[in-house]
């Protein structure tokens, strides 16, 4: 592939992987079975990123394994209703088209594990999207590093990745135990827990893999929220959680213990609440993308009511289609809330458009503040819906 026999795009892809392998001391390449590419929103890519992708498509790049995409900057079918400009839409369509030409499934979701790109335990994969990376390593037990957009694309076009980091057994072992001595049950509380752990580790000046104990129950919805948060605030690509992570049963929790108490979670939670209900003019659920169970709950709570604020329901296209069939979409849209499939409030071009966001997602709070200059209100799922109705 390095000689150019498979075309310039494949050659460039292998050059990227060979350089990364050399930098991180990989001894060989490992075949991957699944790729998830980030860097899809035209808001983040710009013309430069788009021209790189077009060049790779023109250069004959073709995905050799199942490859799916992160959210785009807009709902591909319903962008006008979300206030997206025609210029932005045109750029976004060209990005999607370039990926499609390379045989990438233009799924546009940050939860590939809910939409048909699901690796099994022990499988080597190359995923970008930090929350999905964390979920794949920690909940499924598949093996991936935190890829960037170009390195994930390179893995797709070659079908391999350099064997370093989380592909190797020795780097998947925990070094610190985190004992959670608090009740954590809702998505927002799991998000606050992710931030609390991330910040404690940052203060200690290190980023060790942790074993988390003390969590009695965690649903898939809770775990996707937690993974997004600990990846955003702690840079974590993986954790062990007793009772959840397949590998956690194979290793004893490390002796060095860090304790997370109710007040740590409360402090993290409070740090993501810098606005009051009166300030909120934007409500969004679906960071990471909503599951069909969560959408059913939204429909239940919105039935026969009218929302009073801009309310985005962000999810993957297939989930939206099941919601259509079940009648949830009709109920939700009758309330005035808007479906934003294929996209989310993190990657859409909405900087400065609103004053304050209400959400159940700690990750969404981070980007609302840093990227879009919004204040934030973090609440449990049902309370966020109440916020939209207020």
């Amino acid at each position: 592939m390095l000689t150019g026999k498979h075309g310039p795009a494949t050659k460039k892809a292998m050059e990227i992987l060979a350089a990364l392998g050399a930098i991180y001391g990989a001894e060989h390449m490992v075949p991957v079975t699944s790729v998830q590419i980030a860097g899809v929103s035209y808001d983040n890519l710009g013309e430069a990123g788009l021209s790189f992708l077009s060049e790779m498509a023109d250069g004959g790049g073709k995905a050799r394994v199942l490859t799916t995409l992160n959210p785009a900057g807009m709902d591909i079918e319903n962008w006008q209703a979300l206030g997206i400009s025609p210029e932005f839409a045109e750029g976004q369509f060209r990005v999607i088209e370039a990926f499609a030409r390379m045989g990438v499934v233009t799924s546009c979701t940050c939860t590939p594990y809910l939409s048909g790109n699901v690796p099994h335990y022990g499988e080597h994969i190359a995923w970008a999207e930090s929350s999905a990376v964390c979920y794949a390593n920690s909940v499924i037990g598949a093996r991936t590093n935190r890829e960037g957009g170009p390195s994930a694309l390179a893995a797709a076009l070659t079908g391999c990745t350099p064997a370093y980091g989380y592909h190797l057994d020795e780097n998947r072992l925990p070094r610190v135990s985190v004992d959670v001595r608090a009740t954590v049950s809702s998505n927002d509380a799991f998000g606050a827990l992710g931030k609390a752990i991330g910040q404690k580790l940052e203060v200690a000046g290190e980023k060790p893999l942790v074993t988390i104990t003390g969590i009695a129950r965690a649903s898939v919805d809770n775990l996707k929220s937690f993974c997004a948060s600990i990846a955003t605030y702690g840079g974590a690509a993986m954790f062990h959680m007793a009772g959840i992570t397949p590998e956690a049963a194979q290793v004893a929790p490390p002796e060095r213990i860090m304790i997370i108490a109710d007040e740590d979670i409360a402090a993290a939670h409070a740090s993501m609440n810098d606005a009051s209900s009166e300030d909120v003019d934007f409500v969004s659920l679906g960071c990471p993308h909503l599951s069909i169970g969560e959408i059913a709950r939204i429909a239940e709570l919105l039935k026969g009511k009218r929302v009073k604020k801009e309310f985005w329901i962000t999810t993957a296209r297939p989930t939206r289609q099941i919601a259509d069939r079940m009648g949830y979409t009709a109920i939700i849209e009758a309330s005035g809330a808007k479906f934003a499939a294929d996209t989310c409030c993190v990657v859409a071009p909405i900087k400065g458009r609103f004053r304050a966001l209400a959400t159940d997602s700690a990750k969404a709070c981070y980007y609302a503040y840093s990227k879009n200059k919004f204040k934030t209100v973090l609440k449990p799922f049902d309370d966020v819906i109440a916020e939209a109705l207020r």
Binding site: I23, G46, A48, G49, G148, G149, P150
Partner: protein, 137 residues
């Protein structure tokens, strides 16, 4: 003075060194249209990296930074070469897609801004030669 380093991306270049002891975040830290460093409080804030042999310890920040290097290249504002103490993913991927010669494992504390530097990275054993005080080719 000649140092031997590790080739990250091949190519040859020569030019004036622009040296910083601080990390560089290309995404948000460098204006992709002008090549000027815009990170608040950076020791090179306000300086242009275009055409220079850019010398810094290592990259930092968002992985989207790789695309910023690519964009600088498309705009004709890229540095002529990059020299690092230890190269990381963002800079490495950026140099590869933007085709900017890049060498690391060079003792960059011995390089000073203004020195004329020749980078030869055609094979694995890349060299960086600094001709101090001589700014002419």
């Amino acid at each position: 003075m000649i140092w031997h380093g590790r080739k990250i991306y091949q190519g040859n270049a020569a030019g004036e060194a622009l040296v910083t002891r601080m990390g560089i975040s290309f995404f948000g830290g460098v204006d992709p249209d002008t090549g000027v460093i815009v990170e608040r409080g950076h020791e090179l804030e306000g300086q242009c990296i275009s055409g220079k042999v850019l010398v810094f310890p290592t990259g930092k920040g968002s992985t989207v930074g790789s695309y910023t290097l690519y964009r600088l290249r498309r705009n004709g504002k890229a540095p002529s070469a990059i020299i690092n103490m230890e190269c990381e993913t963002i800079t490495a991927v950026g140099c590869i897609i933007a085709e900017i010669p890049c060498v690391d494992r060079i003792p960059i504390d011995q390089l000073t801004t203004g020195a004329f530097v020749v980078v030869q990275a055609d094979d694995e054993n890349a060299t960086v030669e600094a001709i101090l005080g001589n700014y002419e080719i």
